[in-house]
C-alpha cells in the first residue's frame, strides 16, 4: 500500500543541448508525504514540476505516475487531473475574467454542473481566505491576492497530489501562516518548491536539495 504516487527515474532534461538542466533525477513521492524541494535560483525546480505533469517531456528517463509510466499527451491528461500544479507566477494561472469563473473552471472541466462548480468555488475561496472576492476581476487583484486565488483554482479540483511552485512568494506573514495551515490540514501528498527554508522545514516530512541537475536527500 506504500507504492509511490509519482516517481521520476533517471530523468534528464535540457532546453538547449549545451546547457543540461536536469541530469539524472530520481524522486519518489509516497502517499501522505510532503517533500520540500530547495535549491539555488535557476537550478531547474520549476522545470522538474513541469516534467511531472507533462508540460515538458524528458530527453531521457521516465515519469511514472498513478500506477503507470506516462508518455504521451493523453497519458498526462489524467495525471493533471490528479496532480494539481500551482504555477510560480500567478499571472500565468489566472485567465478567466472573474475570480469565481477561474476557480470554477477546473470543476466544470471535471464534469460538475454549473451549480456544483459554483458552490465548490465558493467553499474553496472561503478556505484560502478569499471569500467575498468572487466577482472581482482577476487581473486587477494584487500580487498576493492572485497567489491565494491561484491556489484556490487548483484546490477546487480536489487533487490527490499538490505541486506547489513557491506558494509563499508575494505573501505577508499572516497569509503565509494561513497557507501553511491549509496545506497541513489538507493532508495530501505534495511537493513544495520554496526559497523559504523555515517554511518548508516546518511543513514537510523530508527535504531534497537540487544542485547541478541532481537531487540530494537532506538528512
Amino acid at each position: 500500500m506504500n507504492e509511490p504516487l509519482i516517481q521520476l527515474r533517471g530523468v534528464q532534461f535540457s532546453y538547449s543541448p549545451e546547457a543540461p538542466v536536469l541530469d539524472g533525477v530520481d524522486l519518489s513521492l509516497r502517499p501522505w508525504e510532503r517533500i520540500g524541494l530547495i535549491g539555488p535560483i535557476g537550478c531547474g525546480k520549476t522545470t522538474l514540476l513541469h516534467l511531472v505533469v507533462g508540460l515538458l517531456a524528458p530527453t531521457a528517463g521516465t515519469v511514472w505516475a498513478f500506477g503507470k509510466t506516462r508518455t504521451g499527451e493523453s497519458d498526462f491528461r489524467e495525471v493533471r487531473l490528479r496532480a494539481g500544479l500551482v504555477f510560480q507566477y500567478a499571472d500565468d494561472q489566472l485567465f478567466c475574467p472573474t475570480v469565481i469563473e477561474d476557480v470554477a473552471f477546473g470543476p466544470l472541466n471535471l464534469g460538475k454542473t454549473a451549480d456544483e462548480a459554483r458552490s465548490i468555488a465558493h467553499e474553496t475561496l472561503q478556505l484560502v481566505g478569499m471569500g467575498g472576492f468572487e466577482e472581482r476581476i482577476t487581473y486587477r487583484l494584487s500580487g498576493g491576492q492572485k497567489r491565494l486565488v491561484s491556489l484556490a483554482t487548483v484546490l477546487a479540483m480536489h487533487p490527490d497530489v499538490l505541486l506547489l511552485d513557491e506558494p509563499t512568494s508575494a505573501l505577508d506573514a499572516e497569509s503565509k501562516t494561513r497557507v501553511g495551515d491549509i496545506l497541513r490540514r489538507l493532508n495530501l501528498a505534495m511537493i513544495i518548491v520554496s526559497h523559504e527554508h523555515d517554511f518548508v522545514r516546518d511543513l514537510t516530512t523530508r527535504i531534497v536539495n537540487m544542485n547541478g541537475g541532481r537531487l540530494i536527500e537532506e538528512s
Binding site: V53, A104, N109, T153
Partner: protein
Amino acid sequence: MIIFEATNGSLIHRIDPRVRVAAACAFAAVVCLSHRLVALEIALAAALGLVVLGRLSIVSILGRIKALNLFILVIVLLLPLFIPGEPAIRISGLTWTREGLHRAGLIALRANIIMLAMICLLATMEPAHLGFALRKLGVPEKLTHVLLFMIRYVELFHQEYHRLRDALRLRAFRPACNRHTFRTFGYIVGLLLVRSMDRAQRVLDAMKCRGFHGRLYVLAPFRFTPADAAFALLAAGLVILLSWIQLR
C-alpha cells in the same frame, strides 16, 4: 482597453444572451435590406431606444461610433462621384450627384443603426456568454473558440505593451528621430510578439493543468424568463414590421 462592457444591471444586460444575439442578427439583416426612409427611421428610433434601455454611457458610444464614421465619411465623399444622375454639387470639375448622395446617406444611416444595435445588444455581455450563445445558436465550436481567444488575447497584447512602455518610461526614454529610438522600437515590437506568444503558451499550459479538453463552459446557466420572451416578441415584431414596410 475594453471591448466588452459587462453588466451594469440594466434591462438589456439581463436579457438572455441567446435572444440578444439572435435579435441583433435579424435586426442587422433587415436593416441592411431596407431602402425606405420610414423603415430606417423606425429602426433608428429602436436603436436609440436600446441605448436608453441599456443605460449606456454616451461618451463611450460616441467613441465607438466615431471610428465607424471616419470610414463612412470616405464612402460619402467618393460614392456620389461615381453614380450617374442629376448633379447636386459641383467643385472644380468634380460632380456629386443627387442619387449618389442619397445612396451614400442611406449607407451611413444603416451602418450607424446597426452599429448602435450591436453596441447595445452584443457588447454588453461577457465574452464567454457571447461564445456560449453563438454555440447554442449552431455556430461551430472551433469558430467560437477562435473568437473568444481573440478577444482575450487582444487584451493580453495590450497589457504586455503597457508593461513594456512603463518599463521604458521608468528609465527616462523619450522617443526622438534617431537610431536609439528606432532600435528601441524594434526591440519593443519583437519583444511584444515573443512575450505574447510565450504568455499564450503558458496560459494554455495552465488550462491543460486544469483539465481543459477543448470545451469551454459557462458558470451562469441561461434561463429563458418571461422578460426574455417579451423582448424576443418585440424584436420579432419590429423585424416583421420593417420587412413589411420594405415589401409593401
